[in-house]
Amino acid sequence: MLSFDHYATPQTLDAAFDAIGRFAGARLVAGATDLLPWAREGRAGDVHLPAMVDVSRIPELCALSVQGDRIRMGAATPISAFQNDPRLQKLAPVLGRCAVWFADDQIREQATVGGNLVNASPAGDSQPALLALNASVTLARRVASRIESRCMPLSDFIVGPGKTQLAGDEILTTIECDAVPGWGAAFEKVGHRRSLVISTVCLAALIRLDWAQRRIEDCRIAIGAVGPVPERLHDVEMRLRGQPPSAELLREAALMTADRVRSRSRQQYRREVLANFVERALAAALAQSGVALERLPKESVHA
């Protein structure tokens, strides 16, 4: 059971910093969808916190806007926005594809983008999609009476399982990512069932072909649940850039991931699935861009 002495719901960023300052050991909360299941028998057990500071009603954390080729989301944006917000649907459809695998309808209304990132679960589903979109995070802190921010790429923000660069006196306020209208997008995930399930492997892929649809002009691939942190497959992306798409190229890309699995369990399974996901996601993204490819038969993968 989760219990606490104080629960504050600040309506402004300043009030939030007041609360953090007033209660030592205060815990920031947005959706609470990770926190409440964690404070139960079999996991953390009974947890008593000095204070909870609920940032979900602060207007800056709920705003969503598009500025040029970047999307800005408040940290308290619910995951359901990935599916429901027309701007995200149009400019970053990979987020919607990721959202359909994220928990269920109810939890998507409650869980937040920022909360999911700060929780930094290695199996978090939103991280690969956001990494593929070159996401960056803005962290705010109050110094004297001024609110200062620092920005960093999402890949720098998450440093380990459950560990981020968020300092004790900081609040994650916004997440920014690329707008990629017209890119082919795919999200792959496998668990033990088709809904409300923890990922064993997940992957997001984006592809943009050149105007003649003859070469891969740009691509982004990010993986999750196969190591302590989610990561981009920069080497694979580099190999693909500028190349004409082909089944052989996709197979080559898949084989490059052999050593990317760093989980402590089910390694062989994850290695195989990861390679298959790379191929499958790239093929799906290409298909959306108008290039249909038949993948090479599987026997070639394993000698």
Binding site: Y7, H48, D54, I107, A284
Partner: protein, 646 residues
């Protein structure tokens, strides 16, 4: 200044700060003061006594707590009550403001969508939310809308039928008369709508955790952290002294003969001198509130001396293994034997002998209703326990003996059960509740958390089955030998019955002249294994049917033909030498084949270079699930993957 002292004392005393919540619930403004750690589900159920929404798991995994918050469907067990300040909440309890049933609820009634009913309020809410969002939602979108709600009884089919019917009635595609019951000229064989469905689809029906009595106290149970340990001492003084605690119980408080069990009465109400599994009840606290009771648990000091634990049944059977029960030599709880004909001779005469080992896993019943109960003593001294017990007759017998009372001074009432499947046959908490009610002379309520239910209640027996089958070249089975070992866990529960059933039914509905079966249930320090839907038969028949498929492959036979050859007919003798006048086994197989359309042939014919099966991907199958039904592009993530192989 940080105020850490009060935090420590809130947990220690069970008295938490209160918070005043002002919120609109089902159209009515309410202002209530509640413990500040309450979630919305606690506020709605415990404070407002709106019991239609349920807490099936408390961790957002089952959906039974679903309700609308400012128009959005959320899981209320994940919502700190502070979040609803100034908001509007809509629960199942008053979904139709005119106090009738909504179209969705009527459709659930018509389609037979509610069985135990525990998941149904949440399902109705999820269906309502899905159709409010898109009144024309197709089946894939409906399934995704219900993807956060678990049902253990229905298999979802009739729930989905109900949502589609509701959608069609709402849209005018189907007339409202479709929601009415079909007329009957004979009530036998009629699709009568369930009589308890209206109370289930509206959340009105009361399960054990929905019941309150005036002056009620709350029970919490201290459970063993060790799989096997001696209890050297239990010191309850600090717990008893906590303000608000009415009594603390241990096995010393049991006045009568302290054991219970479905077949073998080997389990004490609370551990007596030794704990045999993680989660076994050691002590119980009865207090004014659940919070105080939980705080008191932390003050009970138990001195354990850990003992070596047994976790594998085959190891537990070995000579020299620590003995878990004084009466069970080699930790064997039950050994059932079937010996028909002469298996050794028949195997030697077989054309083909096929061997394989099959294993099944321990299974959790996962009824959506966690265990709960209400116990009280009537003015005439009759001790009454209301609980979802699946066998109140037997429980009353055992409880009377445990309490040392005449049997007509013990009363068991079976409350509406939110799923049983055999998991509520064991009297694992009613004894403690009765004792608490007697000692305090007040009603006592106890509601399990989901984690408690997992740890303390029975599991389906896992089986390891060594299978040997001898056949003639034409496919006739001449001999079956099954040696089965099962982990019975710490207490017997239904192990004797499970071993019997697994042996009697295991070799399957086949006419076999020579049968040898051993079914051995073994005590270990794992969670006890007990009754679970089709106990013993699920496991042993799985092995037989998987084995027959293997034999069909080896014989290059069609698996239907192999079965038709061997199935019992009228007049057959079972493996226990019972003659059966009428056997409808072949009728069933033929009916299944006719319904499915079956392209006869060897299994996995691709490997033999044979043409692919022709019966795949036809009527009676659904499209594979690809998710994303209501994304705007509606393009599945790998639509291009049209390649199928037979």
């Amino acid at each position: 200044m940080p105020d850490i002292a009060s935090g420590a004392s809130a947990s220690a005393s069970g008295r938490h700060p209160m918070v005043e919540i002002s919120v609109r619930v089902n159209g009515r403004q309410v202002v209530r003061s509640v413990p500040n750690h309450y979630r919305l589900i606690d506020f709605v159920r415990e404070e407002l006594k709106l019991t239609g929404s349920k807490e099936g798991c408390g961790a957002g995994e089952c959906g039974t707590c679903s309700m609308f918050l400012d128009g959005k469907l959320i899981k209320s067990c994940l919502t700190p009550v502070h979040k609803v300040q100034g908001c509007a909440v809509e629960t199942i309890d008053d979904l139709d403001r005119d106090h009738g049933m909504t179209v969705v609820q009527q459709a659930f009634h018509k389609c037979g969508a509610s069985q135990c009913g525990y998941c149904i309020p949440g399902m109705v809410m999820a269906a309502t939310s899905t159709l409010r969002r898109n009144p024309h939602a197709g089946i894939d979108e409906i399934k995704e809308g219900l993807g956060g709600n678990i049902c253990r009884c229905t298999g979802y089919q009739k729930i989905l039928d109900a949502v589609e019917l509701a959608r069609d009635v709402i849209n005018g595609a189907t007339a409202p008369a479709a929601l009415q019951e079909e007329p009957a000229d004979n009530f036998m064989g009629h699709r009568t709508r369930r009589l308890d469905a209206p109370s289930k689809v509206t959340g009105a029906i009361k399960y054990a955790a929905d019941m309150w009595m005036a002056n009620m106290l709350h029970m919490q149970v201290l459970r063993s952290p060790h799989p096997h340990a001696r209890i050297l001492a239990i010191d309850t003084r600090r717990a008893s002294a906590l303000p608000g605690v009415e009594c603390v119980l241990t096995s010393d408080d049991v006045p009568g003969v302290d054991n219970f069990g479905v077949f073998i009465e080997d389990q004490p109400v609370m551990a007596r001198g030794v704990v045999r599994y993680v989660g076994e009840a050691v002590a119980a606290v009865v207090a004014e509130t659940v919070d105080i009771a939980r705080a008191a648990l932390r003050l009970i000091e138990v001195q354990y001396e850990t003992l070596p634990g047994l976790f594998d049944p085959e190891a537990a059977m070995q000579p020299g293994a620590v003995q878990l029960h004084p009466f069970a030599a080699n930790n064997i709880c039950k050994h059932t034997r079937i010996r028909k004909g002469d298996v050794d001779v028949a195997m030697r005469e077989a054309d083909l002998v096929v061997e394989e080992i099959y294993e099944t896993a321990p299974i959790e019943h996962a009824y959506l209703e966690p265990e709960a109960g209400l116990a009280y003593v009537e003015p005439d001294g009759c001790v009454t326990v209301q609980s979802p017990s699946q066998n109140i007759t037997h429980h009353r017998h055992m409880l009377a003996k445990i309490l040392g009372r005449p049997i007509n001074k013990v009363r068991m009432i079976m409350s509406t059960v939110g799923g049983g499947f055999g998991g509520k046959e064991d009297m694992i908490y009613q004894g403690m509740m009765a004792l608490g009610a007697i000692k305090t002379r007040r009603p006592v309520r106890y509601v399990f958390t989901r984690e408690e239910s997992f740890a303390a209640s029975a599991k389906r027996h896992p089986f390891k089955i060594r299978y040997t089958m001898g056949l003639k070249r034409d496919g006739r089975i001449v001999a079956t030998k099954m040696v089965m070992v099962s982990d019975g866990g710490a207490y017997a529960m239904s192990t004797p019955g499970v071993m019997n059933k697994s042996a009697i039914l295991g070799p399957g509905p086949y006419a076999i002249a020579n049968v040898w079966v051993d079914a051995i249930g073994v005590y270990t320090n794992n969670t006890p294994s007990g009754a679970m839907r089709a106990f013993g038969a699920f496991q042993s028949e799985f092995a037989t049917e998987a084995h027959l498929d293997l034999c069909a492959e080896r014989l290059a036979m069609d698996p239907v033909a192999l079965r038709m050859l061997n199935l019992m007919r009228d007049g057959a003798l079972t493996h226990t030498m019972q003659p059966l006048d009428r056997v409808l086994a072949t009728d069933c197989l033929q009916a299944a084949v006719a319904a499915a359309g079956w392209d006869a042939g060897v299994p996995h014919r691709r490997a033999h270079g044979l043409p692919a099966r022709t019966d795949l991907d036809g009527p009676g199958t659904r499209a594979p699930c690809t998710l994303g039904a209501y994304l705007p592009s509606a393009a599945p993530s790998h639509q291009e993957e049209q390649q199928h192989e037979a």
